[in-house]
Symmetry: C2
Subunit: 601 residues, 2 copies
């Protein structure tokens, strides 16, 4: 017998007495001299294998050579463990396998770190030996969850008559938003392909083609400076539909997400999901992706404080700025004056000049450095406005409205985490709608699209596209889950004239528009249906479902913050002949090379 | 009512009397003055809509403005067609919809070609307007078939406990085989990523990680000079397993393919598939991917002709070459001497110096320019060897054995097509096994891997890896369908020592091996299980299932033979700023640019 008969993790008491053949990795080995215990691991789980001198001295001899992570093949008999030796932490803990025969299929040298979930190895070491890191149960489970998630989404969309259609990876560069990754062409020297930031244009063209329901789980690329929650390549669940109104699309996505949560997490989430306009989200939560698992909302105080004696507040309001605050419950005794002052650094990142605070002494009285600027009535009004209680602390920012919202939004999140206010078993979905279509980019000295240039303006704002572009709302919707933007979608422009107006609003000349997107403008003239869609970030979705907070943990072979693979050392130098074929030369500026190498450390 | 209630193609007689709302494209419009007929098309099919002056003059008025490919929304009633007007070519041909209301959702200008399967537009025009070309029913059906195929494969592998795991697109360049597409790194100036030619190393590392059953439907890239059946980016069904012997893997693939054919084509194919060694395939069919739907096998004649009077034959055999032939049935009267002589051009492509032929006159006699070199016994022996009959023609090539096989193999295929010998409803699977592990590359002056450097040698040939590398067989298997190589797989090397020997056989220095594949060699030392896998070309599979002979017809947005997209004009020039950020410069050699542009026309 040399075929595996069972998986370790699938053995049960019903198999007691059976002869089995197992293959897998030695997770642990305990040598008691006359008897050796081996925890044998395969993809299904772990079972204990016993080598006993009385039963089988030959197998015991081989077992003596075995070390952790050796790959072995064991033939033996399933037996019931004795009462005192049952391992309740193991699914197979009531049984074990007595070995009749064992072969070593491959050896392992000493590991750079233990294959354990609570490995204390640095992430760098784990990434360098990713093939070992992926052996950890946590990583195995996350990859399984990722598979189940994509499988479920594909099944769901197939049921809804969507076709998965692949779009090209080698495209034309039309940077509008993030930076493209370029791919030099050998056949057309001096020309370049670009890797897709999203299949946006192709999916719209598939609607022109009459497919009506397209999806694709697809790799996308952005050459941006990376943060913890970004990767240079990421995977997107890309969806586009024709003739389907916004309401139907949102309802379909709600159905998909609630069924997904039920399927892979066993969690019940109710639809329809709450909705909130972009403005409301910014005003109440200081974020366009609010985490609604806790309250601590931002409170508007501009009116209340404009005639207070505190000049910083009143003059901010006079100059068109805003004053807002949050109330953090019951922390007054735990935060010293010094602690509270130190929190300024949190808001300064967002451009706020300072963070003011007041402790609530009683139902009628506040205390703190700025308390003296508020008379009794004002103090009472503040307390009432926040519905604050003794022991709470109020925090204030006075600045441009956007700075106020951003900085208090960030402070809100910080407190929620520090004070452990978040219920991590909760899954709070939220649609954020009515985003601005355009925003003014000071550097580029022109308007840029908040989502992308193909997003449709809200009907009643259409005529403002030329006259007051900053006040046009987009027919767009972001799906937010627990404070993360899961994805965004919109109804699209499908008329050539409106698309041309949009390009004009973005400052494109007619030539530019034609050069970059002429084929799309042309396509719009051949019977383009009304259409819209959405794209969801798969890595982030899996990260939330897995209860992780690092995108890298959801990707089998991720890149570091400097877009490197520590295992393969990509990117790397290439053969001069390869560059010669591409008719390219590298002119690395010395200083930058040194800098970049230094930052790699 | 402004929500679509039904799809055009789904309307049936059971809906007669119902009010429906349809949305779709005007396929055809016939204006008879008092009545207008519109064939309305959506993703499900076509239905006839009638606008009648008596029923609804307002709708008729709008219908008068309608032209082909307009997008419209129609509300109306399903009615039974009168007996004489039933259209048997249409699934909905027994009913029609009388319009109560119609709105034009979008207009279309005149089309560059008709949306018909038998469009006579050139492929260039169709590719330039691919969004219109994809409206053709044939293209819609092929994309549907492609979706069904990938869906089936995913379902099948999920059932077999495989996990789909994504591997990176931005990798290190380790060209060994085809040319890599490179992606310059901005963060690491002077360094490059490479797009994957296949996820080979990553899938092996996933086996080191203990996933045991991995698959991925994944985009791969090869920067090669293109032929009709190649694309710069292509999609692969990539599979890898641990602890699964070759026989089990092959049986699993047979099960997958037979069930797929049943599911998407309704065709019954029996497993197990026949197997043939590489040598046998070359000798009998002159191809390592023989089309076994017809016979006309190559016949060995070296012994028979070595002492004939025909010097060309006898001296070839004397010098270690071979003489082989094929017998083409019943064509003697249809091919003149000139026709037969002209066939030399077919074999000359493969390096053959000429093509000899003989017509069979009777059971005992041959005729033709070389007949005189064969005495009566030899003529009879020839006829017997081929089991030839009067009216057949024998063709002969005398040359190096590989030239003989290649050229007669090509001639065999040509005749099968010209004479219509192929049953296109047949699906002939075949495993080709025992490929040579290595072949000698004259240009590189070293051995190169026939499959890839990770393929395992056949056990009993292992010790010849150093002494006679050309005589080592690979533990590899290609899956052939109807003369196409659907894909190939192998058992892999999983021991560091053997992998190092393989790299040595390929002429890698230790440093080179370490620089390129050091992480893999390291990984092999941490408990790597025996593993093997296979990769199938999805584009080619869909092409065969769809009964097409052009890969481009199976890809939504394909590239031309010069790796261009005629619709978007990719690749294209990029902004100098983009190159500056990458610290790259283009040095196009003038002559080549002109040449390349010229070849583009």
């Amino acid at each position: 017998m040399n075929e595996r008969t069972h998986l370790c993790g699938n053995l049960t008491e019903s198999m007691i007495g059976q002869t089995v053949q197992l293959k897998g990795w030695v997770k642990k080995r305990r040598d008691l001299g006359q008897v050796i215990f081996v925890d044998l691991r395969d993809r299904a789980g772990i079972v204990q294998v016993v080598f006993n001198v009385e039963e089988n001295p030959e197998a015991l001899e081989t077992a003596e050579q075995i070390r952790n992570e050796y790959v072995i093949e064991v033939t033996g008999t399933v037996i019931k463990r004795e009462a005192g030796t049952i391992n309740e932490n193991l699914a197979t803990g009531t049984i074990e396998v007595t070995a009749d025969h064992v072969s070593i299929l491959n050896r392992s040298k000493g590991l750079p770190f233990m294959i354990e979930d609570d490995s204390d190895a640095s992430e760098d070491v784990r990434l360098r030996h990713r093939y070992l890191d992926l052996r950890r149960p946590e990583m195995q489970n996350t990859m399984k969850l990722r598979h189940q998630t994509t499988k479920f989404i594909r099944d769901f969309l197939d049921e809804e008559a969507f076709l998965e259609i692949e779009t090209p990876m080698l495209n034309k560069s039309t940077p509008e938003g993030a930076r493209d990754y370029l791919v030099p062409s050998r056949v057309h020297p001096g020309s370049f392909y670009a890797l897709p930031q999203s299949p946006q244009i192709f999916k719209q063209l598939l609607m022109v083609s009459g497919f009506e329901r397209y999806f694709q789980i697809v790799r996308c690329f952005r050459d941006e400076d990376l943060r913890a929650d970004r990767q240079p390549e990421f995977t997107q669940v890309d969806i586009e539909t024709s003739f389907l109104g916004k309401e139907d699309l949102l309802a379909m996505m709600e159905s998909m997400m609630t069924k997904l949560l039920k399927k892979v997490k066993g969690v019940d989430v109710e639809g329809p999901f709450p909705r909130m306009s972009y403005n409301e989200a910014m005003e109440r939560y200081g974020s366009d992706k609010p985490d609604t698992r806790f309250e601590m909302e931002l409170v508007e105080l501009s009116e209340l404080v404009q005639d207070s004696g505190f000049k910083v507040f009143s003059s901010t309001v006079e100059n068109g700025g805003a004053v807002k605050g949050i109330c953090v419950k019951g922390i007054a005794d735990d935060y010293s004056r010094k602690d509270l002052d130190a929190l300024s650094s949190v808001v300064e990142v967002y451009g706020a000049k300072g963070l003011a605070w007041l402790k609530i002494e009683s139902e009628t009285e506040v205390k703190g450095p700025i308390a003296k600027f508020f008379d009794e009535t004002k103090q009472r009004a503040l307390i009432d406005t926040f519905a604050a209680e003794a022991g709470d602390v109020l925090f204030f920012v006075a600045d441009k409205r956007s700075v106020v919202n951003d900085s208090l939004g960030a402070l809100r999140i910080k407190f929620a985490k520090d004070l452990n206010l978040i219920d991590y078993n909760q899954f709070n979905f939220l649609w954020v709608t009515e985003f601005p279509l355009l925003s003014y980019d000071e550097d580029a000295d022109r308007y840029v699209a908040e989502h992308h240039p193909f997003t449709r303006p809200v009907k009643e704002d259409e005529e403002r596209l030329t006259s007051e572009p900053e006040n046009v709302r987009a027919e767009a919707y972001d799906l937010v889950l627990n404070g993360y933007e899961l994805g965004g979608g919109s109804q699209r422009i499908y008329e050539r004239e409106l698309q041309e107006q949009m390009f004009q609003a973005l400052g494109f000349s007619d030539e530019e528009a034609k050069e970059k997107f002429g084929f799309l403008l042309d396509a719009f003239e051949y019977g383009t249906p009304p259409h819209g869609g959405i794209a969801l970030g798969l890595d982030r979705l899996v990260m939330i479902l897995a209860g992780r907070d690092n995108l890298r943990d959801t990707i089998a072979f991720p890149k570091t913050a400097s877009a490197s693979c520590l295992m393969t050392n990509a990117p790397g130098e290439v053969d001069p002949g390869q560059l010669d074929e591409l008719q390219l030369s590298v002119n690395v500026r010395e200083d930058e090379q040194t800098e970049s190498q230094a930052s790699e450390e």
